[in-house]
Symmetry: C2
Subunit: 214 residues, 2 copies
Amino acid sequence: MSSDVVTDRLRTALLAGQYAPRQRLIETELAADLSVSRSAVRNALLQLAAEGLVEMQLNRGARVREISLAEAVEITEVRQGIESLVAARAAERVTDEQAEELRELGERMSDAVVRGELVAYSDLNAALHARLREIAGHETATRIVEQLNGQLVRHQFRLAMLPGRPGRSLPEHLAIIDAVRARDAEGARAAMAAHLGSVLTTLAALEDGSGRRA
Amino acid sequence: MSSDVVTDRLRTALLAGQYAPRQRLIETELAADLSVSRSAVRNALLQLAAEGLVEMQLNRGARVREISLAEAVEITEVRQGIESLVAARAAERVTDEQAEELRELGERMSDAVVRGELVAYSDLNAALHARLREIAGHETATRIVEQLNGQLVRHQFRLAMLPGRPGRSLPEHLAIIDAVRARDAEGARAAMAAHLGSVLTTLAALEDGSGRRA
DNA sequence: GGTGACAAGATTGTCAACAATCGTGTCAGC
DNA sequence: GCTGACACGATTGTTGACAATCTTGTCACC
C-alpha cells in the first residue's frame, strides 16, 4: 500500500525534527506536499498516532505530540527495565565477531568524546544500543524500545549536548561493552541499569533547572 | 469518529477470544456483522494491527495474530522488567486506603484458590496487576503493559488452568501485596520479578512439554 | 469597550464506487 | 495423471465527493 511509504516518509520527517511539537499536521497540506492522496496521509497519521509520535483529537486532526520532560523520565524508566534485559541477553548470545565489533564501537565512541564531536558521539550512542538489541535478538523488547525511542529523539538530542554529559556517559557505555564482551549477563544488566539511571538523574536535574516549555 | 467505536468492539471481541488465531478477518463481513461501513472496519483493523492484535499483509488483508509460546515468553520477559518497576512505584505511592483494598484483594484471591474457582482467581489476578498499575500512576508503563497483555490473553488463560499453578502463584501474589503494603519498594520489585520469573519457568515447561501448535 | 450570537471558511470524518491484486478452479497440452 | 497457463470470483487498496464539525471573524447589543 502506498500508505506505508507515506507513513515512513512522515515518520522520518518527524524523527528528524522537521515539524515542531504541537504543530498541527493538516491532511490536505501534507497530501499536497508529498503529492499523494489525503487518505494515504490520513492512514499514515493514524499509524503514527498508534506509535505515539502524533496525537489525534476528534474532528481536530493531528498534532505533533509534545513529550514533556516528565514523560521523558517515564519513558526512560521503562527503557531501563527493558534495555537491562536486552543487555543481559546480548551478553549471553554475543559471538566473537560481534564482541570485536563492540570493542571497535567503544573505541570510536572514546575517540569522538576526546575530539569533542558531540553529534558523532550521539550517533554512536544510538548505534551501540541498536547493535545490542540486534545481538540480543529479542523481537518484543526491540519493538518496544524502538517505539519508545522514537518519542524521545528531541530530549536525547538535548541531553547529549549538555556540557560534561559525554564525559559521564562514556565510561558507562564502555562498562556495558566490557560486560557484554565478558559474557557477564548480570554485569551487563547492572551496567545498563546504571547507565540509564544516570540518564534519569540528568533528566531530573533538567526538570528542576530549566523551564517547563523548552 | 465511529471508527473508534468499531475498534473498541473488535478489540473486546478479539480479547474475548471470539475469533480464532490465524483466522482471516474479512472487511466486508465484519462491516456487515457490525453494520458499519467498510472504511470504519478498515481503520479499526489498522489500529489493531498497530496494537499487535491482528497482522496485515499487503493485498491479503488482516488475520488474527497468533502468538507463539516463544513470543509469549518474550512478552513475559519484557513484562517482568516493566511490572517490577510498577510494583516498586506502587509501594512508594500507595495510600492507606489503597493498602486496605489490596489486603482485601489478597483475601479474595486466597478464597478463590481454596474454593477452586479458577476463573475467578484468574480475574482477580488480572485485577491485582491492574490495580497496582493504577496505584503506581505510571502512564507509560501502564500503556505498554496493557498493550502486551492484550497479546497474551490466550496464553494467560491456559496458564491459569494448569493443575497446581494457582497454588504456586498465590503466595507470590500475596508477597507482592505484603511488600507494597509495607511500602517496601525494593521488596515489591523483587516479589514481582520473582512472580513473573515463576510464570516464565512455567511457560518454558509448557514449551518443552506440549506441542507447538496449541 | 466588552460579550454573545451568527455566518463563512477551513478541516476533518464518512461513504460508496472504481481499480488493482490475489487465490482458486478449470482446462489444454504433454 | 501431472504440470502450467488462463480466467473468474473474491477481497483489498485507492480515490474523490459529500456531510459533519470546528475555528475564526464580524456585528449587533448591552
